[in-house]
């Protein structure tokens, strides 16, 4: 496999380290359901037969964490993005969503 690293360009997968599912976001530790939330976050996986969003780390390169959309049936890479950008966008969207929900 080869990843198109947003910082370094196209590189072989051997430079990268897989971490895990990027679908889950870390729960709020102060929520009343925190324990159940953290158990699901840490241990449960959808592990679908199709495209996964995964966290990869460019260990032998720029040290960026990446969110990679990859088809686990055929190893085709669909997209590669900076994890930081993805996380910030998710937060923005969540905040935005919360505000609009609050408005209705």
């Amino acid at each position: 496999m080869r990843f198109n690293c947003p910082c370094c360009g196209e590189r072989g997968a051997e430079e990268f380290v897989y971490h895990g599912d990027a679908a889950a976001t870390r729960p709020d530790a102060n929520s009343p359901t925190a324990m159940a939330d953290f158990i699901a976050y840490t241990y449960e996986r959808t592990n679908a037969a199709g495209v996964h969003r995964e966290l990869w780390y460019h260990a032998a390169g720029c040290h960026l964490w990446l969110v990679v959309a990859r088809n686990v049936m055929n190893h085709q890479i669909i997209s590669v993005a900076r994890a930081r950008d993805v996380a910030l966008a998710q937060t923005a969207q969540a905040t935005c969503g919360a505000q609009s929900n609050g408005g209705t």
């Binding site: 496999m1 897989y18 840490t42 241990y43 959808t46 592990n47 037969a49 686990v72 055929n74």
Partner: protein, 419 residues
């Protein structure tokens, strides 16, 4: 003739008539409308479960449904090693039961799966590693399992061709389980299939499960590509695909699917007697009775359902091989394959009930499923027949992650690809 026994006499008799008298090793059954118990997955574990259900628990009306051909999953894609050299109390009794079942398997099922106890040697390369192996070896001995800690000279006597001269990580010694060894993997599936068949189990190939039917919170059968099959109880033994099948029942499992490659070399005159694992790299090796070096190493390290891996891991494994035994440099790698591992969150398996009554789960075998086959079958059969965990499989609960009772042999935490 399908019911006929296998022996040297039957082989000689058949030799005289051109082997025309042999019948199918197992019937290619068509699905009946209903069974008491349906086992999903015609791999080693599923077939063994069906066999023990019939033999040990007196169950009748059992079917094994398999989406392709039996033995096509991980029982046909592994490096054939059997051992019970585990560290943790949740694991040792289970794998030791498996070892004992292996030791009597051939006479039990009347099929020579070539259980070959030529020993498994785990090498250590540092004081810390030695002490970790001592801890493991002592744990095994406390459970009545054989283990010996060898020093360098003892290892050298067994395997004089290992790199003792120029190694980056010199070999200091090893932990050996002499009862460990290898088993002809395909024969395990065929042997259990034949033995189960002879006890009336229907083995239904090319029958893929497409869904579950439930009655309230109780399972009532499975939808398949060959129609609905009613079932009182359903056992799921589809390691490699557990998440996909469990999802049909609405479950999310503590499992990721990872690819593990393995390799076999051209056939050469045997010189490696037992199984040797390298302690300073990802490499382990044995030599088959046909002469091929059978070896492997680490997971590719990413999720996959593709049954194939990539070249960096091939190289990593061969580097380990050359570091350990540089005489194999000119031996050629003949075939590679990739198996899909049910990698659980703590590296240990699950044999448990599920939230749906009558639906039982056997999953999360990581890359240890082959050696577990007999015990997994027996314990899963016990669970399905009796509704409670077998004495040696009590730790393999699905809720152990929620309660904080992970069985983490390697101490790697909730990162399946690191186990």
């Amino acid at each position: 003739m399908a019911a006929g026994g296998y022996s040297i006499f039957s082989v000689l008799r058949e030799a005289l008539r051109g082997h025309t008298g042999w019948g199918p090793a197992w019937r290619d059954a068509a699905p009946k409308p209903a069974y008491d118990i349906v086992i999903i997955g015609g791999g080693g574990h599923g077939l063994a479960t069906a066999y023990y259900l019939a033999k040990e628990y007196g169950e009748a009306r059992i079917a094994v449904v398999e989406k392709g051909w039996i033995g096509g999953g991980n029982v046909g894609r592994n490096t054939t090693i059997v051992r019970s050299n585990y560290l943790l109390p949740g694991n040792i009794p289970f794998y030791e039961l498996s070892m004992k079942l292996w030791e009597g398997l051939e006479q039990d099922i009347n099929y020579n799966a070539m259980v070959s106890q030529r020993g498994i040697l785990n090498l250590y390369h540092s004081d810390a590693q030695r002490d970790a192996y001592a801890r493991r070896g002592n744990a095994m001995r406390l459970h009545g399992v054989d283990s010996e800690l060898l020093d360098q000279s003892a290892v050298r006597r067994m395997y004089p061709f290992l790199d003792f001269e120029n190694a980056r990580f010199p070999i200091q010694g090893g932990l050996i389980q002499r009862r460990g060894g290898t088993v002809r993997h395909d024969a395990v599936a065929w042997g259990y299939a034949r033995a189960a068949d002879r006890r009336g189990v229907d083995i239904i190939q090319n029958c893929e499960v497409t869904g579950f039917r439930t009655d309230g919170n109780r399972v009532s059968g499975v939808e398949t590509t060959r129609g609905f099959i009613q079932a009182g109880k359903v056992g799921l033994a589809v390691a490699g695909n557990s998440s996909r099948v469990a999802a049909m029942a609405g479950m999310r499992l503590p499992i990721e699917s990872h690819v593990l490659q393995a390799f076999v070399s051209e056939s050469i005159k045997p010189f490696i007697d037992g199984v040797v694992t390298f302690g300073a790299g990802h490499f382990y090796i044995s030599q088959s009775d046909k002469g091929g070096l059978v070896f492997g190493g680490d997971l590719d390290g990413y999720n996959s359902y593709a049954q194939r891996g990539n070249m960096p891991v091939v190289e990593d494994v061969c580097e380990g091989g050359m570091a350990l035994m540089p005489r194999i440099g000119r031996v050629r790698l003949l075939r590679s394959w990739g198996g899909i591992m049910d990698m659980s969150m703590d590296g240990s398996p699950i044999i448990d009930r599920t939230g749906i009554e009558g639906l039982y789960l056997n999953a999360g075998w990581c890359y240890g499923g082959f050696k577990a086959t007999p015990a997994s079958g027996l314990c899963f059969a016990h669970l399905i027949a009796r509704g409670e965990a077998h004495a040696v499989a009590k730790a393999y609960r699905l809720d152990r992650f929620a309660t904080g009772h992970a069985i983490d042999e390697k101490g790697m935490g909730p990162y399946p690809h690191l186990h």
